[in-house]
Symmetry: none
DNA sequence: TAAGATTTGTGCGTATGTATT
DNA sequence: TAATACATACGCACAAATCTT
């Protein structure tokens, strides 16, 4: 999956897919592309808000999904770090 | 058109005209009267529901017509904005 | 030690989107 | 048409922890 939306895509507010899911795909694409290295922080929520024109609550929702899928690791009051850059160790979530 | 029902009319649930069409005429009259300026949001769906005693689905149906006729522009999750205040650039919809 | 900037945590209110009954 | 419920999204405000200067 994550094939329709690329790393350079923008949010389509009119489309059928929810913006928070679009952002999930975009960020996964950017991680895989190497925009941020493993163990390094991705853009802050505030930055993503500015970059994609979304509400912070929406950005946070996307990050929550990324964390659940194991792409990133959120460190309270510090940042959101890249946990992996490919889906090699893809794992099931209950 | 929109001559029979004025800006201060109320919905007549007994009459021959469907409530959603009555509301369309009322809202157009209110826009033309200047209740809401161009580029500004009209009353929310919830507000219109309370004001006219209609179901939200009915109000939305009216707004859909207004949007198709170019009177308003619906911005997802934000509001319904006045696109024009007169029928100068009246245009055909397919 | 202190102050300021940055970042995530949390909550509230409101609006539209969609579906069901 | 109506009534209801839930999902999705925006905006704002403030708290708490961290980092920088």
């Amino acid at each position: 999956m994550y094939e329709q939306i690329g790393a350079d895509a923008e949010i389509d507010h009119e489309g059928p897919q929810a913006p928070y899911l679009q952002l999930v795909e975009i960020l996964v694409a950017r991680i895989r592309r190497g925009d941020w290295d493993q163990g390094r922080p991705i853009a802050s929520e505030t930055r993503l808000v500015q970059e994609y024109g979304l509400a912070r609550s929406t950005v946070r929702r996307s990050i929550k999904v990324l964390a659940q899928e194991g792409w990133v690791h959120v460190v309270p009051h510090r940042g959101t770090y890249v946990a992996r850059t490919s889906d090699e160790q893809e794992q099931e979530q209950e």
